[in-house]
């Protein structure tokens, strides 16, 4: 709706401006006539000439702004003449006054013609008369406005080396170097190294002066002119140099700091060689020898880093490894981690300094090994996500829809096999969004949405899993239609629909053979239904959920386990069972004293700093047995959505690193458990999925409350 109103407002203010111009021009033309007559009587009045000039200048300027190009072009001739009079180059004469009066009449005719859409002759005579008075050739037409149309991007990523040293007084002109740096960032990735050598000591610093310069490395696909444009307001008074970095600099293997400084023109080659003869790092040596400043070296180091990364990308050697060899390696490393944890515990109890030192070293090495090995199989999902850009573009164009793909969390890493297996289901889901979800631009405008639809692909690590979501701001799922179709296909009885929630209705979508597309379009393909998608995801031991709001959009969430992940957790005990709570979820641990319990008046809440935090007892959720009054309970405060929740347990053991092992199909429906692990002593600890656990506990609580309320009402009525 806003867009529609916006469009109407545009017409309004532009039209208002135009009507204002007609009035304004009338007045100004009147003024011009009167002023000309006054000038005739008083030809030396500078004030009158200025007034005349301003009037003509305004008609020209405003006319051009509002699109009256012919009027502006003609008026330009008059303006040139008056300007020359102002400058004393042309004297005021009767002839001049006459000519300008004629010109003024012509402008008036043009204005009248504009209103009535008539044509008017081009007054070539008048123009030549004006020019004759000037004695030389004025520039003909209104100069075209400075084109700030963006030039097309060259498409390739290049690197620019930019030096920007603002003039000291830059702030006094209302400019802020930060704005310029931010604008550069709009065009690509910028690495900024400050030049601090000009900073005076505090006593000598004037707070309103700018003493810092900047060396910037910009990776972008923009043309060099676009980059230079960023500096348009400062280039005359500040030092600005924009240079394309010769990519061959990195090619020949020359990423030596000295070479880079030479290339930047900051040091001479002989000086570099001289200094290399000593045994320090090149950069330090150059600084100590006074041949380069710290800032220059810092900036060159950035360049070196950039070039080396680029080289690495081009040259990276790869080795093919059989996946099961890798799995075996990962398993062994996992057991090594467990064994090392036991070693640490044992060493602590022995208490020998010598032993401790070695054990610490082993701990460090094992951690490094663990991280590295895990990293081998994991690759960022961003590569896969980015491939969807092309798909979205082609599909949406083919359907006459305008759709933008937004990718978030591309750095989220997943096991390589999982990424390969999730690709097809993702394609199907994205196609669904484009085909059935997002409406045509016309439909969208009618419902007050932006003509451009958005599909968001997002990945994130949540709890012990990876969550991939595909969401769109389209028309959402038509629950009515789904329900009717389900009845038509005999999947459910009409009568049973009565008590069903939206979530229940959505589950029909996953049943085999269910498809609400009237026409089996090429886009969504035949025979690939949501049931196949769900099967694929189950094979990966994942889960898929749909959430949809009619008219607003649909969100599909896929939760995948990180089977091979090793995480840091807190080992705790509730009753007889041990649990692991992921460390990154934990805020703090608090004792559950009898004071806290009594203050809560029977409800399961406590105050932590300023927040009221609800808690649940793990033993109650999992074992369902009564409290052992002898033990002091502990509450682990964990993050839950935007706030917190408390998990009550009996004993905290301490940090524990662990390999998550999946519990298998039997238990995957259990809410709150993400997996299990084998402890050093052979016992099994359950790894908690905190968000799920808290959510289902809350749901239970709410249900119990409603049930209780229901009974109360029944009793009362």
């Amino acid at each position: 709706m806003n867009r529609l109103l916006g469009a109407m407002v545009v017409i309004d203010h532009e039209q208002e401006a135009m009507s204002a111009f007609y009035e304004e021009a009338d007045e100004l033309l009147n003024d011009i006539e009167l002023t000309l007559l006054e000038i005739e009587a008083d030809p030396d009045s500078k004030e009158l000439i200025d007034k005349l000039f301003r009037a003509v200048h305004t008609i020209k300027g405003s006319g051009a702004m509002l699109g009256f190009d012919k009027i502006a072009a003609f008026t330009h001739h008059v303006e040139s003449l008056i300007d020359a009079v102002r400058a004393g180059e042309v004297p005021v004469s009767k002839l001049l006054i006459n000519q300008v009066l004629l010109a003024r009449d012509h402008i008036n005719n043009m204005m009248v013609a504009e209103k009535g859409e008539e044509a008017v002759d081009d007054a070539a005579e008048i123009i030549s008369g004006l020019r004759a008075l000037l004695g030389n050739d004025p520039d003909m037409l209104v100069a075209p406005p400075r084109s700030s149309d963006t030039k097309s991007d060259s498409g390739r990523d290049v690197s620019y080396r930019i030096t920007f040293i603002p003039e000291e007084g830059i702030f006094m002109r209302g400019l802020d170097p930060l704005m310029i740096l931010l604008e550069l960032e709009d065009h690509g990735k910028a690495i900024v190294t400050p030049i601090t050598e000009s900073l005076p000591v505090l006593e000598n610093m004037a707070p309103e002066k700018c003493y810092i310069g900047y060396n910037i490395l910009l990776e972008t696909n923009a043309d060099i002119d676009i980059i230079k444009d960023v500096f348009i307001f400062v280039e005359e008074d500040s030092i600005v140099e924009v240079e394309l970095i010769d990519s061959s600099l990195g090619d020949t293997g020359a990423t030596r700091l000295g070479d880079i400084l030479v290339d930047r023109g900051e040091v001479k080659e002989e000086e570099v060689n001289q200094v290399l003869a000593q045994d320090q790092k090149t950069g330090e040596k150059l600084i100590n020898a006074g041949l380069a400043t710290e800032s220059q070296v810092a900036a060159a180091l950035q360049e070196q880093k950039l070039l080396r990364e680029r080289k690495k990308v081009r040259e990276s050697a790869t080795i093919r490894v059989a996946a099961d060899k890798l799995d075996f390696l990962i398993n062994v490393v996992g057991e090594l981690v467990t064994a090392q944890a036991r070693l640490t515990d044992t060493a602590v109890s022995i208490g020998s300094m010598q032993l401790n030192a070695t054990v610490e070293e082993i701990e460090r090495l094992v951690t490094e090994l663990r991280d590295n090995v895990l990293g081998i199989r994991m690759i960022p999902i961003g590569n896969t996500f980015n491939k969807f850009n092309r798909l979205v573009r082609d599909l949406s164009m083919g359907m006459g829809k305008d759709i933008e793909l937004v990718v978030k969390g591309g750095e989220t890493e997943l096991d390589k096999t999982m990424i390969e297996k999730i690709h097809d289901p993702l394609v199907h889901l994205v196609r669904n969004s484009i085909d059935h979800g997002i409406e045509t631009p016309e439909e969208r405008r009618v419902s007050g949405k932006d003509a451009t639809g958005t599909v968001v692909l997002q990945a994130a690590h949540v709890g012990g899993s990876v969550m991939i979501t595909i969401s769109d701001d389209g028309r959402g799922i038509d629950y009515e239609k789904v329900a009717r179709k389900a009845v038509a296909k005999g999947l459910v009885r009409e009568a049973d629909l009565e008590g069903m929630s939206r979530e229940d209705i959505l589950t029909f979508i996953f049943l085999p053979g269910f498809s609400t597309a009237e026409i089996v379009s090429d886009v969504s393909g035949r025979g690939v239904g949501m049931d196949v998608v769900r099967t694929e995801i189950s094979k990966l031991r994942g889960r898929i959920e749909i959430d949809s709001v009619p008219g607003k959009g649909t969100k599909i969430s896929i939760r995948l386990p990180l089977t091979m992940a090793i995480i840091d957790g807190l080992l705790v005990r509730a009753q007889d069972t041990k649990y692991i709570i992921p460390i990154n979820r934990i805020r703090q641990c608090v004792e559950l004293t009898s004071d806290i319990i009594s203050m809560a008046h029977g409800r399961h809440i406590l105050q932590v700093q300023e927040e009221i935090v609800p808690y649940v007892r793990l033993r109650e959720i999992f074992n369902g047995c009564a409290r052992n009054d002898k033990e002091i309970e502990q509450i682990i405060i964990v993050e839950y959505e935007e706030s917190a929740a408390g998990l009550v347990i009996d004993q905290i053991y301490g940090d524990h690193q662990t390999v998550i092992k999946s519990l298998g199909k039997c238990y995957e429906h259990v809410h709150g458990i993400a997996g299990a692990t084998v402890l050093g002593d052979g016992s099994v600890a359950l790894i908690l999925d905190v968000p799920q656990l808290v959510k289902s506990a809350i749901d239970d609580e709410v249900e119990a409350l409603e049930h209780h309320r229901g009974r109360q009402e029944a009793a009362g009525s």
């Binding site: 300027g61 406005p145 002109r173």
Partner: protein
């Protein structure tokens, strides 16, 4: 909070055109018809940026810029001048007076908004 831009121009049609375009882009707009009017308003209200024509009666653009730079609230705000190709020397005079940047008339609203977002974020 939307940013406030003061537009100074003796042409009512320009003020309408520019003011309308700025409001549509979400800015709050103050309008003045010449330098005196602008300085007067700005001594009572504040703005985040000033857009001023150069050719105006009573107090022209250059004069206004100089005056604003002496007012504590406006020493460091962006001031953009509306120049025309036919007055090349004005750009330098403006800069000397303390102007931040310029945009050349005639310009399209989109060009104006691009220049504004260059100096006002």
């Amino acid at each position: 909070m939307p940013k406030t831009i003061m537009t100074v121009d003796d042409s009512a049609s320009i003020r309408l055109l520019v003011g309308g375009a700025l409001r549509q882009a979400g800015y709050s707009v103050l309008e003045a018809k010449d330098g005196v009017d602008a300085a007067d308003q700005l001594s009572k209200k504040t703005c985040d940026m000033v857009l001023t024509d150069l050719n105006m009666p009573n107090l022209d653009g250059i004069g206004l810029i100089k005056k604003l730079r002496t007012m504590p609230a406006y020493r460091f705000i962006p001031i953009i001048m509306l120049t025309t190709e036919s007055q090349p020397g004005m750009k330098q005079k403006g800069k000397d007076a303390g102007a931040t940047g310029w945009i050349v008339k005639p310009f399209k609203p989109a060009q104006l908004l691009a220049v504004i977002s260059r100096v006002l974020r």
